[in-house]
Subunit: 214 residues, 3 copies
Amino acid sequence: MIFSEISLIEVLDLLGTFAFAISGIRLASGKNIDWFGAYVIGLVTATGGGTIRDLLLDVKPFWMLDATYLIITGVALFAAILFKEKLLRLGNTLFIFDTVGLGLFTTVGIVKSFDAGLPFWVCILMGALTGTAGGVIRDVLINEVPLLFRKDIYALACIAGGFVFFLCYQFNLLIPVVEVLAALTVIVIRVVAVKFHIQLPILNLDHTDAKREE
Amino acid sequence: MIFSEISLIEVLDLLGTFAFAISGIRLASGKNIDWFGAYVIGLVTATGGGTIRDLLLDVKPFWMLDATYLIITGVALFAAILFKEKLLRLGNTLFIFDTVGLGLFTTVGIVKSFDAGLPFWVCILMGALTGTAGGVIRDVLINEVPLLFRKDIYALACIAGGFVFFLCYQFNLLIPVVEVLAALTVIVIRVVAVKFHIQLPILNLDHTDAKREE
Amino acid sequence: MIFSEISLIEVLDLLGTFAFAISGIRLASGKNIDWFGAYVIGLVTATGGGTIRDLLLDVKPFWMLDATYLIITGVALFAAILFKEKLLRLGNTLFIFDTVGLGLFTTVGIVKSFDAGLPFWVCILMGALTGTAGGVIRDVLINEVPLLFRKDIYALACIAGGFVFFLCYQFNLLIPVVEVLAALTVIVIRVVAVKFHIQLPILNLDHTDAKREE
């Protein structure tokens, strides 16, 4: 990571990584998981989405180029062990970091896929994947049905951000402006959805237990 | 997708994708999963096997080239929400679609790997992987031990299809004929196994609970 | 696999693969999983770590070049079915194989990443990933929180082996010597940790059930 004029994005990237790592470490807690396991789950939460994106794009995984993500996750684990409940009481602050991270990661995913020459609907999907897949792997590792599938508007915010990105791009706005608008869309939708408890309907096709007869 | 003379394969591909997506959506139902989650699980069931195959082959994942798979999954979700139990009562029809899809996906996996110059035993494995890995990821996401490991002859049908493929190829049959025979093998074995409840033995090494002491 | 002067490494590789496959098959037992499922879980345990490593390195997965790994896993399943409890009573022998395999797989992962020109900290990570990711996938497939995150010093032994590798490399030791020292470090730390029940602390941030409110 080079200190340069784009350092605001870097700061947001670090905060987002920290918040994602903390979300992994928090959910690992109380599951009989040791410090090392918590570190791995934090790391996977923070970097899993971008890693799958990079594998699909056939480029070198981003965290191989920059040890920052490993270090930030270490700081997150250290903070979690040191401050325990105090850290958890920062719920709102962490939510803001997490949401900013989601907006940023989604936008990075869109831009990286767009630069790779993929069609717009693949880019939108890759943006959502970048933002959400880490949390899905986290939940698989701690042996839960992914929160993403059960709670709040999360991935849909990423997808809306993707559509805003390509809509603004059509209007020939400057790329940095397009990026900011896409990220803001993700953030605003996520905040509004959580604040007003907006959720999608649960899918329940029947009440018999014939469901696993495939 | 271009409309051309090979449209029968395309129709089968769509039906197979639809059936695989429905199987994901059905199993997601009743697990406190929302519409979006059901869509993702349906999509992963339908495209997961081919995606892992393409990652292993180091080629661009097939669904990035053609939005059909995303759309079909959307149609499957829409149909599931609209028709609910009625859809589930189509059990036999869905089973046929699913089985045809399995035969087709397996054959596509074999051919794609064969064209990539891989040895025959890798191609057979990749065929089985293409047909079955989506269902494994589906079951991991809904937090169950994969059905593939527990029930019916499923992957073995794919592997038998693979052997038939290379056997027929040795006899210099025309490639389209070889493909049809391989797919039919998968379909027939699967249908026979389900009809006559042919299953592999369950593995049970001991009755103590020393098993997780590794 | 070509018989040559490096056959000791090959023998260790086979023993390690066998032990890893057995660990997958053992844990599959008693979970209502059939022979085929046990084979797949054994195979994934033995080859999963190296496969993820090769995907991240963007090289052809190692098991595509050599059917040995498939065959060894078949032998392991056959041995498990044939000898049942007798096999499990070989606990100590299997532990030695498993530990030697861990040391070897870790070192192979480091060397392969190093040859790909990656920075040392990525190589250390890739070594640990090669040694441990198969077991993590195994536990995800049998629907358990990965043992790796809960028990004993395992991945940390791999990481220590990685540091020893690069430390020795700095001192210009011959590469084969560096490799042996790295593998021995992994093996010794693992054996000592298990013998003296050295474990990392469990992470437990709070005692409320607010943890999944994210």
